[in-house]
Subunit: 239 residues, 2 copies
DNA sequence: ATGGGCTCTTGGTCTAGACCACGGGATGGA
DNA sequence: TCCATCCCGTGGTCTAGACCAAGAGCCCAT
């Protein structure tokens, strides 16, 4: 079939990538592209060249390669505006059903130094670590890891984790009233790729929250958000 | 020389990537890895396989491939904490020399709808667009694009752009006192790659600021930060 | 019905080459 | 001394195959 018409000087895999992008955008999410071998023959090109083009589309987040099945158009991203401290509310505002999957809840025998420093854990005091996956309509939106001083939350059970931790904290007068949040971007760790159901080359937002009640450090939390699906929102302070 | 010792079941390019990562970490920033052809021979492997390993290290941000020169270890990232609205101060706090390179300053004949909506531009009112590159010790840290209602800043000249725009605004009683900021992560556009001097596969933080003085919309700004070099920092509000 | 295995299709890895395009240093002439 | 040019080493692209491994559906034996 027709050879690749590259505006002289353009690499073939670039031209193929651009043509293929058009093809993908005409597909419904979840639908596969033609097989790599077929595309290679169709364009009269080596399979490696087609793979290079598809890899680029995968980095763009447009396509997901699944071994044994094909190169599928990615699901439509849902873009979520999250104002920090109210995850469930943010999800509900988008008419999504917020759910939480507890992954882990227990004593962290060896917490990172940033955690012990911030929570002021010295002799004997232990850190409780909670890991949760937050979803909207079943789609993973955030992976959270939170540390508390264990003696502050003695009766926190697995059941409390499926709802808002902030309700639990509020009932005990531990609702944070100040602190700071830092945001960086990066690429996901391998284990995060699976839990968040994203591709390894798509960026993520990482957020670190240090929260206080008055002078007392209450919560150290790290959250990972797929960049495709989430936007973090902050009110500007008066100066 | 020694064949690749892969923990049976591991792909060669993975094993090579991991060995190569160790090699890179022993290099000084800017120093090149051995040439691809040499590495391929050394490990008894095809050059394409070595290239696959190096591409992974490039995505990690550890290595930068330069056509005609080699695969060089990336410069040491400088990690900057930026509290919004005070870029120059943030840079100075890290003992860096903040500079600004004005790229463009003029009327935007066709501003995006989000801009005209926010700034309330109707009828003959026009938008002034400013593009600047912010650096610390000569290293690009942010690419900014800012829109103002043109009649609010009639005497803004190219000279004002090299310093803090906020000084200019403050002198005219236009210093923003409220607003909102949204943060997303993504990959850089091709033109951003060059200006920020990053590799195309490294994530960036994108920030959109809508700033007001009282009820009056003053500034719509978009900024792009290399994820390797910047961390955005926000104070937590009292609730 | 149902479960297990077979087979076919798909992407994943890898090879051993080829030629192109860029950068930099050596070389030589003005 | 200075500048243009050439050459060579580098990464960038591309080929035409090969085999491996995972998913999915078929078919048969239970």
């Amino acid at each position: 079939m027709g050879a690749v018409t590259s505006p002289s000087g353009t690499a073939k895999h670039i031209a193929i990538r651009d043509q293929l992008r058009e093809t993908v955008l005409r597909l419904a999410p979840g639908q596969p592209l033609p097989a790599e071998r077929q595309l290679a023959e169709q364009w009269g090109v080596a399979r490696m060249t087609v793979r290079q083009a598809i890899a680029a589309l995968a980095r763009e987040g447009l396509v997901r390669s699944v071994h044994g099945r094909g190169n599928l158009r990615s699901p439509e991203p849902l873009q979520l505006r999250i104002q920090l401290g109210s995850f469930a509310d943010a999800v509900r505002e988008h008419d999504l059903e917020p759910t939480t999957r507890p992954l882990e809840c227990g004593i962290d025998e060896n917490p990172p130094e940033v955690v012990t420093d911030f929570l002021g854990l010295g002799g004997g005091q232990r850190a409780l670590r909670v890991r949760r996956l937050r979803l909207g309509n079943g789609v993973p939106l955030a992976l959270e890891r939170t540390w508390f001083a264990a003696d502050l939350v003695p009766d926190l059970t697995e059941r409390d984790l499926t709802g808002s931790l902030y309700h639990y904290l509020e009932a005990r007068g531990l609702l944070p009233d100040s602190g700071e949040e830092a945001v960086v971007a990066g690429l996901p760790e391998p284990h995060e790729v699976g839990l968040l159901d994203i591709s390894a080359s798509r960026p993520v937002l990482r957020l670190v929250r240090k929260a206080l009640v008055g002078e007392r450090a209450v919560e150290y939390a790290e959250a990972v958000f797929p960049a495709d699906r989430c936007e973090l929102w902050f009110p500007l302070q008066s100066r």
